[in-house]
Symmetry: D2
């Protein structure tokens, strides 16, 4: 049960309300985000909401039977729009393109990528400065220095920064330089990290877990929302299966299913989703047709020399071509009557 | 190693050739299809093909390191075109649409589906008369009678028949009434059935196994080809994973990968691939963008009353809309430079 | 619903009964096995069985809510014992050991294996004469000749034969030489084959599908039982997962779960279950402790020279050691109070 | 490549050595643990180790081709023994038993569990005070207070504490009260957490990831070891597959494979591995036979009233019986010649 509180509800009214609801055997969690105040009630599923609908402070009540509540479309039918400033948005009905290298490597590299993005009217850049690596001996990224170089150039160019945060202690040092915090596939269920990302007023893009279910992805988003941050983007990036001919199995089924269950925008990552450069464009366009609100892919001036993920990274020529194809495909999709 | 034999090679020349090759420690399998004669050599990978290239009867020799040989693109670069007659083809560069009910239910049902297909210029009809069911107590299909009713109407309407064959003994009784034999996902590795389908001159569409790899699908196709039948279509229909929000996980990665490895056409089945009616169109269009040469989906006048698979079956209005969208999406795809 | 018919029920009584039950909206399937006559009723789950319990011919009625009926423990609590003759049984409370090569290779090989089995008091021998191979160019077994050589020697030695049947047409030619028909992991849902195996009076061992669920294995067994054959053995042989360090993932969880759901005996195949010779003994003994009624493993005089599966095959010394360890482990297990 | 340094190597000698090795194109990582000093060399696989074997400070050099180095058996053949004090060890050749509730609930609950453990000579107790939960609204554990109550009672009783740490910031506040830090299945690839656990001198038990490979588990262990902590225990707890009849698929294949690849002890968790109380004992004993060095299972005075995981938790009577059976099974296993 979600109770949306009226804008002007004061503290004592809220406490009264919580106490009253508690008497019906319902456990209440209070949620305050950038956008509003909510009470989440768990337990006593047969509860008749008319018993509290008239109480002072209650603006609206919704029964949500899913295990996730605030991210459910059963409560909020209107799609969530993520406003990154400068007229840049990630939202249902538009097509976000996010491109950039796997790893941030140098100031020169950043400059060349930004140049490429500007030439192709791409407004968001991805790149890793803290890299999760399965081996402790592998390159772990340039860290905060890399992020600061990047920020300086991106800000000047009007380009938004999407980068992975790996642990709680990084949030504070990164927050001024990041537009979208990415939660990686190995951290989708790092609940402490999600809790803390609920406390910042920056967008958070949560990648589906390496073998995470659609339900778990939504519950992870619920952590961020219930922590206080409504600016959440979901990302399908492929799941682990028995198939070995591709790096992951891109599960595009997840796109319409997520869109039908949640009001949050959904992005597709074809680079990790198939892991083979030659086939990234096809899977990106398939992602557009499946209903995605955006595509995030890896691009590098010289993929063969990239520090990581070169085998799935497009060069600038391929990237330019793909960006145009994504836009044309999306334009066609908009003419269709799809859910 | 594949040795393509010259058209006019006589029996004794062929025997000489086989004996000669055998002396190099290579096991030879003879393959004769509708299109040509081949010798497949296995073993002795370091063999120098120049030793036999000049022999009488040898038209061409190809080294194919894959476990599948005749279906590999390493040997035959030109895409295979499946000609069903009446100008109807399944092939790279065109977009086949196959629609129809899960089960053939009655003569009246057939008539209504055919009417719908004609109105929408759809030339191929799917439907089951022999149904594989996990429970022995479930409806197992109308059998041969149903197929004969169907044949009569389809022939009159110029529509081609795609239907599943479940066992060897059915091939002979079905062959006169079928245009494309479908091998179901539970029979992808029924090697005896594949062997026998190699002996008929009808197209064979092999569905990927329930948890079959891309490699295994190609090896199953190799069975049919090496049995003597080159008219093979591959079908991605979703694989079994841990995810429970969809019936199967439609693996569209398989489309560009199959197309890059084999010269055979590839079809996508979004109905089984996601199993949820509302999302079949999105996944069909995603399949088109992934590079498929055709889409096969379930359609029924009244899906709620279908004998089986109703939850994933489109009604005629949805089907008409989808067929048009498939064509528009394919038209756009053809303007792109994709592999 | 399962209705067990009284022994002396005549045809007209049975027809009366079927008609009467049909009037309650229940679809009736008649099953006649070696052991008894049954009517299986599907539909109308709220039916009050007291309405027919008193009718002539009804010996017993059981409500079985599972999708499988006759193989369920909800109906038949007493474990099924498979009697192979000569005092050799596969059943709950004893420990069957089945050993032998992957492929039958020659009369000499058979002789040496039988000698080994006799020395170690092993009463059942496995071996393939029809081999399912993913490549059409691989060795497909010695066929019926091999089976006949084997039969002659096995019969003389009092050893029972376990071998795979791949298609319906083989059943008749094999039936006189086989004690247990094995249905391989690629044929677990070959429903026609299961139907036909329901018509013979030989034991049938069904291997779990390559990615088959426990539920599907029981439904496949239901095919054989409802076809008329109660002599069914279930075999856990590992499932396909993402893990690549072993050939399959041996799912020993399946053993106690199958034993709790069904009255049929359960066998474990550690050779295919892990696929690495050095670790077959540990997994065999783990299988015993998980509650298996038997172990089937691959043994060969010289595994390095075996035609197939050598990497997971024990030599005779290892096999002798393992057989003794299996027996000791089972003796210990019998002293425990396990389900 | 692993270079084990001589005990008395001083700083300048070590620097000389690092520089010298670097000249051969090898990237060197320095590792200092409780037990010794190492240099890990990555790159230049064809390097001839005789070129540095004679240098001052080098005690031993090993080539390790695996992606994990320090945890590999190729380097250190002798099994690692984890000494927890008071004569309590986890090591190859003995059988550790760890039991206790899913969640620590109260001081009274702790007292009763400890009483049960003492009566059954069980020396290690598991229990959660920080609980990872997929829903943000679920019970998240008693936290540090619960741990302190537990510590007081456990210390008095001579019982060791095994409990999950979820984030870096908890390590310092927990370290004085914990004997074995557990890394949960959702944190197996939380590399920052692993890094930090490398800096404490307490044992670390790493659970296999929810769909983690055996290789990834070893690489996660490598993080802890290369961070400076050799006291690592590996835990198989079931993986995520398509099978729905059990909570997870307990992959006992992992036990002999891990033991053959690494010198670290391996523990099996049958409670999470199957998730069904009635079958936990069978899977525990199967784990013993598969070669485990210990079993960790959930026990509670009254499982039906447990805050979490009640469905897979044994009561004290079942736990007492199982502990005895584990010991008897292990005693039998020791008489066998298994790898």
């Amino acid at each position: 049960m979600i109770i949306q509180l009226a804008k002007n509800t004061d503290l004592s009214e809220k406490e009264d309300l919580k106490q009253k609801i508690g008497t019906f055997g319902i456990k209440v969690t209070e949620v305050r985000t950038q956008m509003g105040d909510y009470l989440i009630g768990i337990g006593n599923k047969d509860f008749d909401i008319r018993k509290i609908g008239h109480l002072k402070g209650v603006q609206d009540i919704h029964i949500v039977s899913d295990d996730y509540k605030l991210v459910s479309k059963k409560w909020k039918v209107k799609p969530t729009s993520i406003d990154l400033g400068d007229g840049i948005r990630i939202e249902d009905g538009s097509m976000a393109i996010i491109a950039g290298p796997c790893s941030i490597e140098s100031e020169e590299q950043i400059a060349r990528v930004i140049q490429h993005l500007k030439e192709n009217n791409i407004k968001m850049m991805r790149g890793g400065v803290f890299k999760p690596r399965s081996s402790p001996y592998a390159f772990r990224g340039l860290g905060l220095d890399g992020l600061k170089w990047w920020y300086e150039q991106a800000k000047a160019a009007g380009i938004k920064i999407v980068t992975e945060v790996m642990q709680v202690s990084q949030i504070e040092e990164m927050v001024d330089y990041v537009d979208i915090f990415q939660v990686g596939a190995r951290n989708t269920q790092n609940f402490n990290l999600l809790d803390e990302l609920g406390k910042v007023d920056k967008a958070v893009m949560i990648k589906r877990g390496i073998s995470g279910t659609i339900e778990e992805l939504l519950q992870s988003a619920e952590y961020v929302f219930s922590g206080g941050n409504e600016k959440i983007i979901l990302c399908e990036r492929g799941i682990r299966t028995y198939e070995r001919a591709s790096r992951n199995t891109l599960d595009l089924n997840a796109v319409p299913i997520l869109k039908s269950k949640s009001h949050l925008p959904v992005i597709v990552d074809p680079s990790h989703g198939i892991g083979i450069r030659e086939f990234v464009p096809q899977m990106a366009l398939a992602g557009v047709m499946s209903g995605a609100d955006g595509i995030i892919y890896e691009a590098h001036e010289n993929p063969e020399k990239a520090y990581s993920d070169g085998q799935q990274t497009l060069n600038f020529q391929q990237s330019a071509l793909l960006a145009a194809q994504i836009r044309k495909t999306f334009a066609l999709r908009k003419t269709f009557q799809l859910l």
